[in-house]
């Protein structure tokens, strides 16, 4: 048989439960615009019933838990897409700087310097003793050399710019790793005490998503409470409450920042995120472009020098080098050819146009023109090689842009899905609020009725 007092205590438990629910609703509304906040739901539980003379009487209500609404699988997918998208868009940004160096679509680049040089030779062939035309050949040669210098220097500048971003990214990664470790620690100790950790887990998810912007990571939840994070195919970043800081150092040969984990150089293994994208630009694309540019410069230097050496200058002296000669390294690399390209001759009379030593002969200029028409590099003419060079550069940017755009759409889609699970809807909170308010009012009414009944009992029984 029930008692008035147990009714009172059931009503009290309802008041408490509804109060908690209102507080959770208030917290949701307060964080409606907080990035990374997962909406919370109050989960109520029926109080354990007690058996009384064969009757099972309810034990009121209690708050079972406060749940953060989160789809962990979706979050993992979102993180992995974010890593991909961030890597691609960083790559595209980096490559767009390089595109600007060779933007033949707007007439920027080496094409006009190349054709200008060959044109100047053509012009001289029609009037080989003309000193103005000879000077024009020197000017065009010098413009070509400067074009190569400037392209090479700009490539280097782009590489150092990217290098600085690499160093900055590593600092940010370390900072975020420490945050994850510290959140792991808090979550573990709270859970050990049996307390809810939904909000902290939400914060940790947000930090992991920021980390995914920066670098490709793998996360493993060993158990519910702690997340292990690794980078570059298995190097630890966070294990439990411990963050393993990445360190940096300059490569002795290239001067480029290298990334170390526990003393091991992991630079080449890093993929994903803005760091992955920047490393791809810095360590793969730029060196490759630089190499092509150097090879083209070296080939032009050698061939033009050889053409000039086969003839005679205006004064009938045998011709020599036209550009400052370039000697490849012992390993055969042309590194530095474009950056150091310069005129060797400075006097217009030294252009060896003549094939027989007479001032008016243009016979040797054919050897110069052959430099234009012959396949002097990789089985192609200099100009075809350059056309393919810019074509390939544009192609890699355009492909990456398309992929970045596609990955961006996937990320947006997943973010949308995530928000549909975790986002705070004010309408929903308002209906909850009404529901809790009504329940609270009803419970308060119960308290009041039980109070009346109790008074009635006390008053009437005392009077008799």
């Amino acid at each position: 048989m029930g008692t008035l007092l147990s009714s009172m205590s059931i009503a009290l438990s309802a008041l408490e439960a509804e109060q908690t629910a209102v507080q959770v609703t208030s917290q949701n509304i307060a964080n409606a615009n907080t990035v990374g906040y997962d909406r919370q739901v109050t989960v109520l539980e029926e109080g354990a019933p007690t058996s009384f003379s064969g009757l099972l009487l309810g034990g009121g209500v209690s708050v079972e838990s406060i749940q953060s609404m989160r789809d962990s699988v979706l979050n993992l997918r979102l993180d992995s897409e974010t890593q991909q998208q961030s890597s691609l868009s960083t790559y595209v940004n980096g490559m767009q700087q390089i595109e600007a160096i060779f933007n033949e679509a707007s007439g920027v680049g080496l094409a006009s310097a190349l054709s200008g040089f060959f044109s100047s030779i053509q012009a001289l062939s029609a009037d080989p003793s003309n000193s103005t035309l000879r000077q024009a050949v020197l000017n065009a040669g010098s413009a070509l050399a400067q074009g190569f210098n400037s392209a090479s220097n700009q490539l280097q500048a782009a590489q150092s710019g990217t290098d600085q971003e690499v160093a900055q990214s590593v600092d940010q990664i370390n900072d975020l790793a420490s945050q994850v470790a510290s959140l792991n620690q808090q979550i573990m100790s709270l859970q050990a005490g049996g307390e809810g950790t939904g909000e902290l887990e939400g914060q940790r998810d947000e930090v992991l998503s920021q980390l995914s912007q920066l670098v490709g990571i793998s996360t493993v939840s060993a158990d519910q409470d702690s997340v292990t994070v690794t980078v570059a195919g298995g190097s630890p970043l966070v294990v439990g409450n411990q963050a393993y800081q990445l360190t940096t150092g300059k490569d002795a040969a290239t001067g480029m920042t290298q990334v170390y984990s526990q003393g091991a150089n992991i630079t080449a293994q890093i993929t994903g995120g803005s760091l992955g994208g920047n490393l791809q630009v810095r360590d793969q694309e730029i060196p490759q472009l630089q190499e092509s540019l150097d090879n083209l410069a070296a080939s032009l230097i050698n061939n033009v020098n050889s053409a000039n050496s086969q003839g005679y200058d205006l004064n009938g002296n045998p011709g020599g080098d036209f550009f400052t000669p370039f000697t490849p390294s012992a390993s055969g690399s042309n590194q530095g050819a474009a950056a150091s390209m310069s005129m060797y001759i400075t006097d217009p009379s030294q252009v060896a146009a003549s094939s027989d030593g007479s001032a008016g002969s243009s016979g040797n200029l054919q050897n110069f023109m052959n430099v234009q028409t012959q396949n002097i590099i990789d089985g192609q003419t200099a100009q075809s090689f350059y056309a393919n060079f810019v074509g390939a550069l544009g192609e890699s940017i355009s492909t990456a842009s398309a992929s970045a755009e596609a990955a961006g759409l996937v990320v947006q889609q997943l973010q949308n899905q995530q928000a549909s699970v975790s986002g705070v809807s004010l309408d929903e909170e308002a209906t909850n609020l009404m529901k809790y308010q009504q329940a609270y009012e009803a419970a308060a009414r119960v308290v009041s009725v039980v109070d009346d009944l109790t008074n009635f009992v006390i008053t009437n029984l005392g009077a008799s």
């Binding site: 509304i29 490559m95 767009q96 595109e99 060779f102 933007n103 033949e104 679509a105 707007s106 680049g109 094409a111 006009s112 054709s115 200008g116 060959f118 044109s119 053509q122 012009a123 062939s125 029609a126 009037d127 080989p128 003793s129 003309n130 003549s354 027989d356 007479s358 001032a359 008016g360 002969s361 243009s362 016979g363 054919q366 023109m369 100009q383 350059y386 056309a387 393919n388 810019v390 074509g391 550069l393 544009g394 192609e395 940017i397 355009s398 842009s401 973010q415 949308n416 928000a419 549909s420 986002g423 809807s425 004010l426 309408d427 929903e428 909170e429 308002a430 209906t431 609020l433 009404m434």
Partner: protein, 297 residues
């Protein structure tokens, strides 16, 4: 209960506005530049073609410039040789006059002086320069090709060389652009100066004037044949010029086809994006600022 949606409607709207603005930017860029692309990555294949097109255009422009340069110097050479022809005809007339047997020795001396004057005139023509270069010294353009030389039978020595130049006027197409002075004026057996000197000698010394005149006529006809080289080259240059101008036009059309924007379609795209953007803005404005919370009392 229905499917829960992303409660943040603004996010979706913003993404839409972003995309539309990007498209508008792209269209505006095309309209202002008149080009279909402004970056390498917009159309790498086309830019690659553009580079090769520019190389070819630059060549053709230079071929055309060369043709003009050559036309100028060849015209000077051709008209110089025309004057030589006139002078030689006069000398032949004088020879014919001297060989009719009715002239006395003093008349013949006068004729000899006239022919000698013509020889000096031709010598001076053979030393014609263009832009400071001798036209008839082979490739030794800084050396005066013909000088008076009393030790030589003709009274004139050739100091130039026998070389000639070729100039490129098309891809792989070279055209010889000069004859050496020795080819034009002093080929063995047809030496212009020797023939003139022979006539002078015959007139002065009572020699066989008729025979000397006949020899001069033979030299003259040989000379005439030689000099057609310049006329023929000039006319070849003229047709080359016409062809190159055509090619220049073709290359410029090709360039326009590669990079020119289709302005009418760009404008129509722009208008479409603008309409869509406008609609999105309006929709964004209509998203309710209120929620159920506003109705709680």
């Amino acid at each position: 209960m229905g499917i829960r949606l992303n409660p943040d409607l603004y996010q979706t709207v913003l993404q839409g506005i972003d995309l539309l603005q990007q498209e508008e930017n792209n269209d505006l860029e095309q309209m202002s530049s008149g080009k279909r692309f402004n970056n390498l990555s917009d159309d790498p294949v086309a830019v690659s073609q553009l580079v090769l097109n520019e190389a070819e255009t630059s060549n053709v422009n230079q071929y055309l410039a060369n043709v003009t340069t050559l036309q100028n110097s060849l015209q000077v050479a051709d008209s110089t040789l025309n004057s030589v022809v006139t002078a030689l005809s006069q000398a032949i007339s004088l020879g014919v006059e001297g060989s009719n047997g009715t002239l006395n020795s003093s008349d013949e001396q006068t004729l000899a002086i006239q022919v000698s004057g013509i020889k000096d005139q031709i010598l001076s023509l053979a030393n014609t320069t263009y832009n400071g270069d001798y036209l008839f010294s082979g490739t030794a353009v800084t050396t005066q090709p013909f000088t008076e030389d009393s030790s030589s039978a003709s009274g004139v020595t050739y100091n130039g060389n026998g070389s000639t130049n070729s100039v490129q006027i098309g891809d792989g197409e070279y055209i010889p652009v000069n004859l050496s002075g020795s080819q034009v004026f002093t080929p063995t057996g047809s030496d212009v100066f020797a023939a003139l000197q022979g006539l002078v000698n015959a007139l002065q010394n009572g020699g066989d004037v008729a025979d000397a005149t006949t020899q001069l006529q033979q030299v003259f006809s040989r000379f005439n044949t030689q000099r057609t080289f310049y006329g023929a080259t000039l006319s070849r240059l003229q047709s080359t010029q016409a062809y190159l101008t055509q090619e220049q036009l073709g290359l410029s059309t090709a360039q326009n086809n590669i990079e020119g924007a289709n302005i009418s379609s760009v404008i129509s795209n722009y208008v479409q994006s603008e309409t869509a953007l406008d609609a999105t803005y309006q929709a964004a404005g209509l998203i309710s600022q209120m929620s159920l919370l506003d109705y709680l009392k």
